[in-house]
Symmetry: C2
Subunit: 243 residues, 2 copies
Amino acid sequence: MTAAHRPRRGRPPRGAPQLSRDAIAEAALKLIDVDGTDAVSMRSVARVLGVDAKSLYNHVADKDDLLDAVAEQLLGSMRLPEPVGDVRADLLGIGHAFRRRALEHPRAAPLVLTRQLASFEGLAPVEATLNILRAAGCPTSEAVHLLRGLVATLTGTLLREVQAGPTYGTADAAGIARRRAALEHSGLARVAEAAAELARFDSTAEYDFTLDLILDAVTARLAAYRNDDGAGQTERLSETPQG
Amino acid sequence: MTAAHRPRRGRPPRGAPQLSRDAIAEAALKLIDVDGTDAVSMRSVARVLGVDAKSLYNHVADKDDLLDAVAEQLLGSMRLPEPVGDVRADLLGIGHAFRRRALEHPRAAPLVLTRQLASFEGLAPVEATLNILRAAGCPTSEAVHLLRGLVATLTGTLLREVQAGPTYGTADAAGIARRRAALEHSGLARVAEAAAELARFDSTAEYDFTLDLILDAVTARLAAYRNDDGAGQTERLSETPQG
DNA sequence: ACCTGAACACCGTTCAAGT
DNA sequence: ACCTGAACACCGTTCAAGT
């Protein structure tokens, strides 16, 4: 056995893939896309990178931090549509951008939707949303509450969609029939009555419905704030807004 | 060493805690409440029950099924308030019941909010919600969509709350000041402007705001369906409803 | 500065063997 | 029917030692 055949030691000679937080996140994402979050281990990620598992600790604090890195990368690289000046259309645009992103990496999406990210990777969507709400005449404090309501609704909707997976969709006729039968025999009157509707799930239609629902509420609030013109608020607008 | 001091073999002699899916779920919940979901392992749960880890496989299929059992137990034992006949108040009641439950076991809540439960443990809240919506004159199909919108919003809101934990609350003045400063220097105009509001988080106020927001939308839809009187719908109501 | 060998204290799960 | 011993193929992470 020559030296070349023995496992390397020290820094890689040359041409070896540079290890970095981003490269590690990318390798982990690749594993998640194929085999799910459970397939991520320090060892499996290292294997993808052709490196020893312990080397990762030079770039991420621990496994949790590695998963944060994946979530940050997904959230940070998200592209938002240009606002057109209509509140409803612009918020809808952000909502759809989120969904598009989530569906590009459905198995990684729960990471983004579920983790409490301490970094500032996710601030671009926040800025965009606040901008739309503020331009529509919403005081800062209310804008933050509405933002949080929107985020919660998007989170819940997307989380359900990506976790339901392709099995709970509209395609699997046999599964739908089975669920429907079970619901009809649940002994619960309303559930039985709605069995046909409960058994099937069109995720796009459901997403659009829920987004429409919450945007009804948001735009109604915006109209109310505009009529009030901030009465009783400490926050004031410096100029008459509206895009 | 006498026989009594050697580890047992075969079924426990007597008085030993009966192993069961419920007992296992309960033991796991105890661990989660104290040390979080990560503290759950087949071995740690078995230790709580004074039993070998492999014995658990006689009552749960695997670790995933064990966690499902915890989620089912939490969801199944939830008590819902009696409806009073007012849609908004009754839906609010269900929302608050969910939150109360989640806050009783904050570290276990993500399990319930996140898992795709195949069992029928969670149907009671579904029945209750459908009943409220149907009694208010909502056709079955729309009722299911509204139900899903409500669930998504509650899920997203509660998930954020339990995951934020006590550190991201209103109590930690130093943390708020730190976050605020960071947001002010983010380089994003709207984020900086709203830094004070973004840095703090009153979970009860936020929950109430979001629930209020979505209920505005739901009640507006109900009013619209009532005026339409189901025009263009295949679903019809057998009697004039409204509680 | 970045990598690895050796090592530690864990995991989930199978399967045959006990009672 | 329900339990365990022995065993397998894994984990995350530390720390000293290499280059």
